[in-house]
């Protein structure tokens, strides 16, 4: 049921897509989701450009994670359709990597074995991908821990492993579901800077779900603000700050104006 529908578009080690803005790689058209009587998501439509870093910002329980799981092919929409590279999403796809809220590492596998887990599941040649896995670990600055077990790592390091795992099979789209929400504030800032660096080096398309306004503004090319119950998009804000952005940028007046704009949008939706 899964594999056949999902692999059709996989074409092995694809050359990196055009840097910067390409055409739309993900298209969400009139997507609705209802769980029984409860309407979780109402008529969402938007596109994500190739190589774009897009954040979905909204309060907890606004359906943004549900939307992400639908893009990942784990949940089917009730109506409407999601297309990745013009192919309709009907199940998990090879060109998508997912980072969850918790690192979900397998405790019996070392860091390197965890990163290579998707390679095993996808039945790709392990030997060919091991150097890539080590490169990713080096980029995430955790290569010296490649032989350790997850329980020997801190929360931040575990989430870095999860990011490497999501990237190891070279997907073109990275879906991130509040990946830093379980971390403390300082580690969180650090991870945001790290993620930006990793993203700049790889130029994947990223769809990043968060309820942190600062995080969304710091990381994104564009932020979509979602209102809760049922989820709709109430605002869209391009973030044109130059990259690479340092954490100091969050003290700039320009940055804070963007943050205020996003906060007002969220508060306006609450007032209704």
């Amino acid at each position: 049921m899964r594999a056949d529908s999902a692999v059709q578009q996989s074409d092995g080690m694809r050359p990196a897509a055009g840097r910067g803005r390409g055409g739309a790689i993900v298209r969400i058209a009139g997507v609705k989701k209802a769980f029984g009587e409860v309407e979780a998501i109402r008529q969402l439509s938007f596109e994500v450009a190739d190589g774009e870093f897009l954040s979905l910002l909204g309060p907890s329980g606004c359906g943004k994670s549900t939307l992400l799981m639908m893009i990942a092919g784990l949940i089917d929409p009730t109506a409407g359709e999601i297309r990745i590279k013009d192919a309709k999403v009907a199940g998990p796809r090879r060109e998508v990597g997912v980072v969850f809220q918790s690192p979900v590492l397998l405790p019996w596998r070392t860091v390197l074995q965890n990163v290579l887990f998707p390679i095993e599941l996808l039945k790709l040649p392990r030997r060919q991908y091991e150097p890539r896995a080590m490169d990713l670990l080096r980029m995430a600055k955790i290569d010296e821990f490649s032989g350790l077990l997850p329980r020997q790592l801190s929360g931040g390091m575990r989430q870095r492993v999860a990011i490497c795992r999501a990237l190891v099979h070279d997907p073109s789209i990275l879906l991130m579901d509040e990946p830093f929400s379980a971390l403390d504030a300082i580690t969180r800032d650090e991870m945001a800077v790290e993620l930006q660096r990793i993203w700049q080096a790889n130029r994947k398309t990223v769809i990043f779900v968060t309820h942190s306004i600062r995080e969304a503004a710091f990381l994104s090319d564009r932020v979509l603000v979602m209102a809760r119950r049922p989820a709709t998009i109430i605002d869209e804000l391009p973030i044109d700050l130059p990259r690479p952005r340092a954490i100091a940028v969050t003290e700039d007046e320009v940055f804070n104006r963007l943050v205020r704009h996003l906060r007002n949008a969220i508060e306006a939706s609450h007032a209704e």
Binding site: A3, V98, L106, P107, W108, F117, L149
Partner: protein, 263 residues
């Protein structure tokens, strides 16, 4: 590092010290109160009986241990197999699993006489009783292990298009290992009980038979010697399983391997 060795030594040392103290108190009080050997022999007499009659003890110990290990092994294989059915078949999970859980209440030992009627007084009855009592905790533990996967791990594997087969071998099985070893530790103890009870009821050999025979002859030192031999063997079997566990389940911190005593 040194600290953990000291902790480990303390964890083993204290129980040994307490055991020695109990044996000493037993020895001294039996002698001081002049209790007859038929009622309660001192530990020294029990050890003497063990040394003197070791041929007799071993002759009866081996068949019991053999049946215990065989019944236990069957219960492990059978339990894991049924647990897989419980995990993957809705009919088994909804229909049989509750029955298995509820049947835990039945004192299965009480079925021993029935087994004698069905399978005779030979080794088959002992083997089947050992298997029966060891089977249930094994099944329930293994099933819990297969089912207790974090929903996120399952999702993660699905996003990388893992098949059911891959999810079973690469996730469910290793995830269930600690539970399976937990079940094994319960099952080995129960398998011993199963064999001994069956030998009590009707048998011409085995350590259970020897204990009953010694009781009938009022040879209390021999009886206690047999019980001691049985206990030591049981402890050894348990230790073997615990040892394999700490090797196989290497990813779990060894905190509870020594026991809760260390703090």
């Amino acid at each position: 590092m040194r600290n953990s060795i000291a902790k480990r030594a303390a964890a083993i040392g204290w129980p040994i010290l307490v055991t020695v103290l109990i044996l000493l108190a037993w020895e001294i009080s039996v002698r001081a109160l002049g209790i007859r050997s038929i009622i309660l022999p001192p530990p020294s007499a029990v050890f003497a009986a063990m040394a003197e009659r070791h041929d007799l003890l071993l002759t009866h110990l081996w068949p019991s241990l053999y049946l215990t290990v065989l019944g236990f092994a069957l219960s492990v294989v059978g339990g894991i197999f049924v647990a897989v059915l419980i995990t993957y078949s809705e009919i088994v999970r909804k229909g049989f699993y509750p029955v298995i859980v509820v049947s835990q209440v039945i004192p299965k030992i009480s079925i021993a006489p029935l087994f004698i009627v069905w399978f005779g007084t030979g080794t088959l009855s002992s083997l089947l009783l050992a298997f029966l009592v060891a089977f249930f905790p094994m099944t329930i533990n293994a099933a819990m292990g297969f089912e207790s996967i974090d929903e996120d791990i399952h999702r993660m594997a699905r996003t990388f298009m893992g098949s059911r087969w891959q999810i079973f071998w690469k996730i469910r099985m290793p995830n269930a290992l600690p539970y399976i070893f937990g079940g094994m530790k319960i099952s080995i103890t129960l398998a011993i009980i199963g064999v001994i009870v069956s030998e009590f009821v009707a048998s011409q050999e085995g350590i259970g038979y020897l204990i009953k025979l010694a009781g009938g002859l009022l040879d209390t030192p021999l009886m206690l010697a047999a019980i001691t031999a049985l206990s030591v063997s049981g402890l050894a079997l348990y230790a073997i399983i615990a040892g394999v566990e700490s090797w196989a389940v290497y990813w779990q911190p060894p905190s509870d391997a020594v026991g809760a005593g260390g703090g």
